[in-house]
Amino acid sequence: MGLRAAFHIMLNDLRLNIVSPFATILSLVVPINFLFLFVLFAVGGAKVPVSVIASGIGEAYTAGFLHALQSALTFHIHQVSTPSAGQRLIQAHRSVATIQIPHGFSAAVAQAKTASIPLTLNNLNHDFADDVRRAMPLAILNFYHSVFPSSLPFGWREVDTYTHNVTFLGYLSVSIQTVALLIGGLLFGGRGAARDWEIGTMKELMLAPIPPWSVVVGKLAAGMVNGIASAVLVLVVLLLLGLRPLMWGQFIGVTLVTLFVFISLGVAIGSIAKSQFIVTPFAFALGLPLFFISGAFGPISWSTPAAADIARVFPVVYANAAFQHAVHGYWPIDTSPVWLWMILLAWAVLALCVSWFSYRRATMQH
């Protein structure tokens, strides 16, 4: 009886979503919106656009230095022929600096004389300007390392832990998938629970001869259906970005657990707030800071200890690590997988209890 009622409550909630498609589409695309916006955020922070004027390109060391600039892990290089062309690109917001490798550079280098590299820098702000200033010594050293290795009194060698390099976008997109489920879950759970209070139909549910848990289960189930639909949309975008999970089972498992945790918490917030208008800003206010401190860009153990300690309390960091593992094959966290899963499952139980007590409290106070 209780399960049947829960099933009908779920169907009713889903039906309500279908008959007001605008709000539903808006909620369903919230996570994907997030993904798009952060991708825009991430591509904005990519390489520094500069113009290079290689005046003596035929000369032996000019090409070598140009190559060193290209491999300095910093620049996106437009080759131009004159300084004024470089200046025009700066004015047109196509580059932020002009680097000139002048005539005579090659000869000076060959003769171990001082060779000057004029750099015109549009120092938009301190951080951006420093990126360029730091990259120049790097290029110079790399140049000598490749052209005159014996002139340097030592050598160096980089040992990478993983053979494949995951791009910034690849890593960040997976983190965004986590925050998308977080915010989406809170919204779906919260709005579904708040709606019945708002329109007064909660009384209809409270006065029906059904156990109270069936209302909570029905709301959670409707939230899960919405959440899964939304997660599928996000997954499609991840696949389009070329990110294919290595471990599908784990990927689906973390998706479901994360959704469950945040939909349950959403139901709790919705029951307490009793207003959809409050649920939305709350979801964002909770979601965004958590996203930033929960290893969105790299392991939390590399970030500020206070922020990492806060992050360890919440499930986001564990969910994110499990997602990164499912997609990229490594665990970017210092918690063992067994512990991690136990924490996630404990959160699921806790969130369920919180949603149950919040619902009971809301109906008691009535």
Binding site: M1, I199, T201, E204, P209, H366
Partner: protein
């Protein structure tokens, strides 16, 4: 009104009363919402609960429906405890909330179907009940329309249909005709009377005293958590006085007239309403009319007052309410 039977033959419980409330208390912290409340609603009776806003009506009804636990005292619905036997009580109880509380985005039929599903109706029976209630609410041709396109009266009818769908024996209607046009009001009154005919008990709250007067077998007046009067409309009116003499007077201060008349034997109380005094008279027998009325009129004219208009009538429930609670029912 369509000749549709309201009931699907859920057996009438054997308990003596539909509702029994005994020494009921409810406190919210230090606030006494309901104090020592006692009343009973018989089977097949229409009982009206009247009181100003915040008087404790909703708290009482929440305790009757089992949504809220009494601090002390007892509530029984058909002999059952609404908290301990909540599912049985909910099956016997139909609620028409004031704010109708329908899913506005869904169709009328869907709203009824969801209610049927919550009450465990299956396929064929569910369909039959929905059809019957659509017919009852005279909404067959609008079954597939979204509720948000309905008028206030249509929503109220649908809400009543929904409350009756599971064939309850006690129907609670909260302000059933608030904001409804006269035509719909008459239809709703007919429903309520028909419920009674079918043996259902009705608990009604209303701000319209003429509604209580027209429908209710008995009325309870509740104020500040206390039941301050209970009885048939006629008995309550008799408490106020058997007749009221309305006098429209000019040429003298009405306050003086009141002072003057309060001393007359047979005058129970006097209310001043605008330029008029309403004199309530204790039991007025044939003979008394001949002696009491001339006394009053003479007193007025002697004081210099000119009587422009006079009428003898029955007291209204409004006056009963006002005299008992000190304020109007809509305050």
């Amino acid at each position: 009104m369509e000749d549709v039977s309201l009931s699907a033959k859920q057996q009438l419980p054997t308990a003596e009363y539909a509702v029994e409330v005994a020494h009921l208390h409810k406190e919210f912290g230090s606030f006494q919402a309901v104090t020592d409340l006692n009343f009973r609603i018989a089977k097949g009776e229409i009982f009206g609960l009247l009181g100003p806003n915040g008087s404790g009506k909703t708290t009482t009804l929440n305790m009757i429906s089992g949504l809220s636990a009494p601090t002390s005292g007892e509530v029984k619905v058909f002999g059952l405890n609404p908290r301990k036997q909540s599912n049985s009580v909910r099956r016997l109880l139909g609620v028409v909330p004031q704010e109708t509380a329908l899913y506005e985005e869904l169709t009328a039929e869907r709203n009824l179907a969801f209610h049927a599903e919550l009450f465990g109706y299956r396929r064929r029976q569910k369909g039959e009940r929905i059809q019957a209630m659509l017919e009852l609410a005279q909404l067959q041709d609008r079954a597939k329309s979204r509720v948000k396109t309905f008028s206030g009266g249509m929503k109220r009818r649908l809400s009543i249909g929904r409350a009756l769908l599971h064939d309850p024996w006690l129907v609670y209607l909260d302000e059933p005709t608030l904001g409804v046009d006269v035509q719909s009001r008459n239809v709703i009154w007919d429903y309520i009377l028909k419920m009674k005919q079918e043996g259902k008990s009705v608990l009604l709250t209303t701000n319209y005293l003429e509604e209580a007067n027209a429908l209710c077998d008995r009325i309870g007046i509740i104020d500040k958590g206390h039941l301050i009067a209970e009885g048939t409309p006629a008995a309550l009116k008799a408490q106020f006085g058997s007749s009221v003499l309305d006098l429209e007077i000019t040429g003298t201060a009405l306050e003086d007239v009141r002072e003057l008349l309060l001393g007359v034997a047979g005058v129970q109380s006097i209310e001043i309403i605008e330029n008029r005094v309403a004199v309530s008279l204790a039991s007025l027998n044939e003979g008394d009319a001949g002696t009491l009325l001339p006394v009053i009129l003479r007193k007025v004219t002697d004081s210099g007052g000119v009587i422009r208009h006079m009428a003898l009538r029955e007291p209204s429930l409004d006056e009963v309410f006002l005299s008992l609670t000190g304020k109007g029912v809509r305050d």
